[in-house]
C-alpha cells in the first residue's frame, strides 16, 4: 500500500497540535484582544457533552475514508446512491455539468430540496455554499447538514476571502489545487480537503494533476531545511508549525479526497492509488446512462482499489459507451475554468 495512507502519529496528537496553535489566541483573549482563528479549548474533564469540537469535526471525515460521496439532485437519486453504497450524498440544484452548460450565477441548492433528501436517507448529507458566503453556510448549519462544501463549482460570493470555518460547529470541506491552497484552507478551519479537478468535465486529468502536485509538494517538505521550510511557510501564508507537521506526517493532517472529473471505477482507483483517502463523484454517475451499476462499481473500486481483480470486476460492471461524454479541458476558455476560483 501507498505509505501516505499510514498515519504515523495518532489522530489525537494532530488534534492536540491544532489546540496548541490556538493557545496564543486564548491568551490574547484574556488581554481583550479577541479573535477566533483556531479551535476553542476544552476543559480537562468534560462532564457536559461538547458538540462541534475539533475532535468531532476532524473525526467525521475519517468515517468517510475509502468511500464515495455522490452528487445528487433529488431524493430519488439520493436513494439510488445510498443503495449503491455511497458514504454520503452532496445535494445540488444542478450537477456541475449542467452548471457549466447553463451559465449564470450558481448558488446554494434549494433548502427544501436539501431538507427532503435529509429526511429520506440515513447516510450523511452534504451541501455546497459559495466561497466566502457566511450566510449560506449559517443557513446550512441551522438546517443541520452534516458537512458543508465551500465550493468553486458555485459562483464565489467573496472573490478574495474564504469563510473563517473556525466559527462553525459543522465541518467544512474545501477544494485545493496544490499544497499551499490546502494548508491555507486547513488554517482557516477546513476539516477535510479535496482536489478541485475540473468539475463537470468527466475528465480526470486535472484531479490527477492536483493530487500529484499536493503529494509532490508534501514529499518535498520532508527534505527541506528549517530555513527553507520557513520560506515555504511564508510562500503558502501559513504558520511554520503547520509546515513542520505536514513534513512529519508525510501527508495532509486532515482527510484528503479526490474530486473533479471522476467518471469510471478505474478513475476512482487511480485517484486512490495516487494517495486519495476517498472520492467525490459529481456528474460522473447521474450524467451517465447506467447510474445504478456505475455507482456500485465506483464504490467497489474505491474501497479495494489495491486489488486488481476487484477493480477489474468493478470496471466490467460498466459500459464505456454509457459513460458521460466528457469535455476536453483544452477546449475550455480560461474564463470557463472553475478551478481558478478561490486560491
Amino acid at each position: 500500500m501507498w505509505n501516505t495512507h499510514l498515519i504515523e502519529i495518532g489522530f489525537d496528537k494532530i488534534v492536540e497540535f491544532f489546540y496548541r496553535l490556538a493557545d496564543v489566541a486564548d491568551r490574547l483573549k484574556q488581554e481583550g484582544l479577541y479573535f477566533r482563528y483556531g479551535p476553542e479549548r476544552l476543559p480537562e474533564v468534560i462532564r457536559v457533552p461538547q458538540k462541534g469540537t475539533l475532535r468531532v469535526k476532524y473525526g467525521f471525515p475519517i468515517f468517510q475514508k475509502y468511500g464515495v460521496c455522490m452528487d445528487v439532485t433529488n431524493v430519488e437519486q439520493a436513494l439510488i446512491a445510498e443503495e449503491a453504497g455511497a458514504v454520503s450524498v452532496m445535494v445540488l440544484d444542478k450537477l456541475p455539468y449542467d452548471v457549466r452548460a447553463s451559465g449564470g450565477v450558481a448558488r446554494m441548492a434549494s433548502v427544501n430540496r436539501i431538507h427532503e433528501v435529509m429526511e429520506n436517507v440515513t447516510i450523511p448529507v452534504m451541501a455546497k455554499v459559495r466561497i466566502g458566503h457566511y450566510m449560506e453556510a449559517r443557513i446550512l448549519e441551522a438546517l443541520g447538514v452534516d458537512m458543508i462544501d465551500e465550493s468553486e463549482v458555485l459562483t464565489p460570493a467573496d472573490e478574495e476571502r474564504h469563510i473563517n470555518k473556525w466559527l462553525f460547529k459543522i465541518p467544512f470541506v474545501n477544494g485545493a489545487r496544490n499544497l499551499g491552497e490546502a494548508l491555507r484552507r486547513i488554517y482557516e478551519g477546513a476539516s477535510m480537503i479535496r482536489t478541485k479537478g475540473e468539475a463537470g468535465t468527466g475528465n480526470v486529468a486535472e484531479a490527477v494533476k492536483h493530487m500529484r502536485t499536493i503529494m509532490n509538494e508534501v514529499m518535498m517538505l520532508v527534505y527541506l531545511s528549517p530555513e527553507d521550510r520557513m520560506k515555504k511557510a511564508r510562500e503558502y501564508g501559513v504558520p511554520y508549525e503547520l509546515i513542520d507537521l505536514v513534513a512529519r506526517l508525510k501527508r495532509l493532517p486532515v482527510v484528503n479526497f479526490a474530486a473533479g472529473g471522476i467518471a469510471t471505477p478505474a478513475d476512482a482507483a487511480l485517484m486512490m492509488w495516487l494517495g486519495a483517502d476517498g472520492v467525490f463523484v459529481g456528474s460522473g454517475i447521474f450524467k451517465s446512462q447506467d447510474p445504478q451499476t456505475r455507482a456500485e462499481a465506483i464504490v467497489l473500486a474505491t474501497s479495494v482499489w489495491w486489488n486488481p481483480d476487484a477493480v477489474l470486476e468493478a470496471q466490467s460492471m460498466i459500459d464505456e459507451a454509457k459513460s458521460m461524454m466528457g469535455i476536453d479541458i483544452r477546449r475550455l476558455k480560461p474564463e470557463e475554468l472553475l478551478q481558478v476560483r478561490g486560491a
Binding site: D12, K51, G59, Q64, K65, G67, V87, G144, S303, V304
Partner: protein
C-alpha cells in the same frame, strides 16, 4: 498475535494505530492485517470492525461473500471488537431512528437492538468523559460521531458503560461493542482491554 481489521471503509488506519500502541504498551508482538476476502478470515486471532457507514460496509461484506464465514467464526469464539458502525454490524436487530428502516443481513451475533443515528446528525455529534470501571477510575474520552445507541440487550450481555438512557459499551463473551470511537481518543486503554482478553 494476528489481529484482523475489516478493511472495506472507514476508520481503518486509526484502529491500526491504536492496536499497535496497545500491543506496544503490553509488550505483545502483533501483526495487524486487513480482512477483505473470505480467505483473509483464516488465521486471525481477533477481528476489529471499524466505524464508517454501516450501509456501505454491509454492502461490500455481501459483495465479498464474507458475512457467513465471519458469523461462523465469531459464533465459534473469535474475539471481535466493533466500534460505531462495527457495533451496528454485530447487533441482532438494527433500526434507523428517523426513517425507521430495519437493516437486515448483518452479522447478528450480539444480542442487542441498535438504533442508527440515535443522537441525531453531525451537528449533534459530541465528546464526553465516560466512566468505564473495567478499564480503571480515570474517565475515558468518548467521541460520538453520528453515533448509534444500543437500547436493549439480551441476558448474556454485560453493560460496561452507559450514557444517559442508552448503552454505549457492551460485552457478550468474546464480543466487545462500543457506539463511540475509542480509536480517536488517544487513550489505548480500551484496545488494551480487548487485547488482554484476546490473549486469554
Amino acid at each position: 498475535m494476528r489481529i484482523g481489521i475489516l478493511a472495506y471503509q472507514g476508520g481503518i488506519d486509526e484502529h491500526r494505530y491504536m492496536i499497535t500502541e496497545a500491543c506496544n504498551e503490553l509488550s505483545i508482538q502483533c501483526d495487524v492485517v486487513n480482512v477483505v476476502k473470505r480467505s483473509d478470515v483464516n488465521g486471525i486471532d481477533a477481528l476489529i470492525i471499524p466505524g464508517g457507514e454501516s450501509t456501505t460496509i454491509l454492502k461490500l461484506m455481501k459483495k465479498f461473500n464474507i458475512v457467513e464465514v465471519l458469523k461462523e467464526r465469531i459464533e465459534n469464539g473469535l474475539p471481535v471488537m466493533g466500534t460505531c458502525a462495527g457495533a451496528i454490524l454485530l447487533a441482532k436487530k438494527v433500526k434507523d431512528l428517523k426513517t425507521g428502516r430495519v437493516m437486515s443481513g448483518t452479522l447478528e451475533v450480539l444480542d442487542a437492538l441498535a438504533i442508527r443515528n440515535y443522537y441525531g446528525r453531525q451537528r449533534e455529534s459530541f465528546e464526553v468523559d465516560l466512566n468505564i470501571p473495567v478499564i480503571g477510575d480515570k474517565p475515558f474520552r468518548a467521541v460520538f460521531i453520528r453515533a448509534p445507541a444500543i437500547v436493549e440487550v439480551g441476558q448474556g450481555v454485560d453493560v460496561l458503560a452507559r450514557y444517559g438512557e442508552s448503552y454505549v459499551l457492551v460485552k457478550q463473551s468474546e464480543i466487545l461493542a462500543s457506539t463511540f470511537h475509542p480509536e480517536l481518543s488517544g487513550d489505548a486503554r480500551l484496545h488494551r482491554y480487548f487485547i488482554e482478553f484476546v490473549k486469554r
